[in-house]
Symmetry: C2
Subunit: 334 residues, 2 copies
């Protein structure tokens, strides 16, 4: 799955800024591939991008219309259909992270069958995969792991990619979730593959390489999340990571959506992830901790990072507040 | 997925006894639901069952024609098609553990669409599932775990079910793989569900219960198999097991099909499985070890079981050679 770039970001008619999280993520991490935004109404949320029609965007070279919003139920609202059809007829590819597949909308599917468009349903994965084998492969890999879902694993991976590149280290972000795939233009939604192929899918998105320095693999879930831990373990084994970065949100009271499920301790999380990762890479090591400290003041956050850094003997930071330069330096030294 | 019983076992025209393993397993564990066998040629392998035509079997009450053989490539050979079609037209359900779906054979699919037959492709699973939640649920559960794939987890689970039942304990086998599903008449091929739903699928096949004593859940894979460990971890979390039985094959040189992947030690396997299982059941305990000792003499095997039993402080047995009575007694005492 390779999504043609550059993008025109479609914001539809959503008015809740939170619903435009995906578009914002793409724009934040890949501003150079975002030509503009398309909004259906003047009340629609806006990113810091030029408003464009499909025609204007195409003239400027846009290749894919990317649906950058979530909407209730994950289905394509009727108010979007005319625009999506027009884009497809004009030859745009269309990419979506919604639950409902674009190809389930028959007129769009017809246009794809006729070769006019390509539809990218990044939340799904239908291509054949091989089962993982855990064989050592060339190239260095970093994986972000976490105490839970939604603790900043994608953000941290992208921040580390950027910091490494700024230090002259050739790093490539490898996406395993829908927003990450839209940012990177390729990848596999690892939680959407058939269970037998979890580690195999990761081996496919980060095969052996010698043309760059590091693959920075986006983690998913947590070994301690009773809903999704299988995905996280397969990811660890498939990633064959030389380096792990642990992500955690300060103040999270329990596992997301499961009030009865306790968060693991940091020590437990480090130990369990290192142990599991060693199955396919005996030399794996923890190289940093990324915290979401938005629940505390900046001063408290800085103190906390300093304390934890002493306690866990690795750089500890909030990537949003303090960046990841120190973690990047540690990675380069490996 | 509930497969109507009793069965007529279809052996096709396979001449390799190993290829009839599934049929043999069904007959061994559920002789009462196997009315007879259907062989296409006189050279076809035979179980210890009456040969029957479709007509004879139907007269005696057979409800489902079960394809009990493996064949190269996992596809339906041409030589089987006429018989399968005739069975479907007569109103038999048809159940298969092959890779190729019965429903991909258009004439069979037509008969299903017309309501004449039901096709059970037990290696696949298409029904909607919920994600797991790890909430404590009533009823006691045992899960068989292993050092690797194909070390006797299904066999041990079925042997334990039988031994418990013989002791007056109401135990129910819960299937997670294709042969197990054909034996039980229901279940979910856990490695065929979408990765996000591994633990949820196990919660679905063993929901809370108060009408019997134990669910005996068939394990899959191993936490130390780099291809499939994600499935095993999701299974552990979903099973919420009160009791674990560890399965292992004496003399296996390395992880199956992966010469570069070491087998874990027994200590490692026990510790990793107990630790992972505790996430959803803090009181989980190891209640026995089941060995496949076919590589050594019966005398050596007996000695080995005795030695290991002292070493690991649980009953250790080869279920084929020595039965599982002692493990069953330990389970009943919980």
């Amino acid at each position: 799955m390779q999504i043609a770039q550059p993008y025109l970001l479609f914001l539809g008619d959503v008015t809740d800024p939170l619903a435009a999280k995906t578009a914002r993520g793409i724009h934040q991490w890949r501003p150079e591939i975002c030509l503009g935004q398309l909004r259906l109404t003047s009340e629609t949320v806006s990113l810091d991008l030029t408003d464009m029609t499909l025609q204007q965007a195409q003239q400027q070279g846009a290749k894919t219309l990317v649906i950058g919003t979530a909407n209730p139920g994950g289905v394509i609202p009727e108010s979007w259909q005319a625009t999506l059809l027009e884009a497809a007829e004009m030859g745009f590819e269309i990419a979506s992270g919604m639950h409902q597949r674009l190809s389930e909308f028959a007129p769009l599917n017809d246009l794809q069958q006729r070769g006019l468009t390509k539809l990218h349903d990044v939340r799904h994965y239908d291509e054949p995969l091989k089962v993982g084998n855990g064989k050592a492969r060339s190239g260095k890999r970093l994986l972000t792991v976490g105490t839970d879902c939604s603790v900043g694993k994608m953000f941290s991976a992208l921040a580390i990619e950027k910091a490494l590149q700024q230090s002259g280290c050739k790093a490539e972000f490898k996406a395993t979730g829908q927003t990450g795939i839209l940012v990177a233009g390729s990848g596999i939604s690892i939680d959407a593959v058939v269970a037998d192929f979890i580690s195999g899918a990761v081996e496919a998105i980060s095969p052996e390489f010698t043309d760059h320095d590091w693959d920075i693999i986006e983690g998913q879930g947590s070994l301690f999340n009773p809903s999704f831990a299988g995905v996280s373990l397969g990811l660890l084994h498939g990633a064959q990571a030389d380096a792990l970065v642990l992500c955690h949100e300060i103040g999270r009271p329990h596992i997301r959506n499961l009030p009865h499920a306790k968060l693991p301790s940091i020590e437990q999380t480090i130990e369990a992830n290192l142990q599991a990762a060693r199955l396919t890479n005996p030399d794996t090591q923890l190289v940093g901790i990324c915290l979401n400290t938005s629940a505390v003041s900046e001063q408290e956050a800085a103190q906390l990072c300093q304390d934890w850094s002493k306690q866990y003997h690795v750089p500890v930071t909030d990537p949003v507040r303090f960046g990841v330069a120190e973690i990047a330096q540690k990675i380069i030294a490996i």
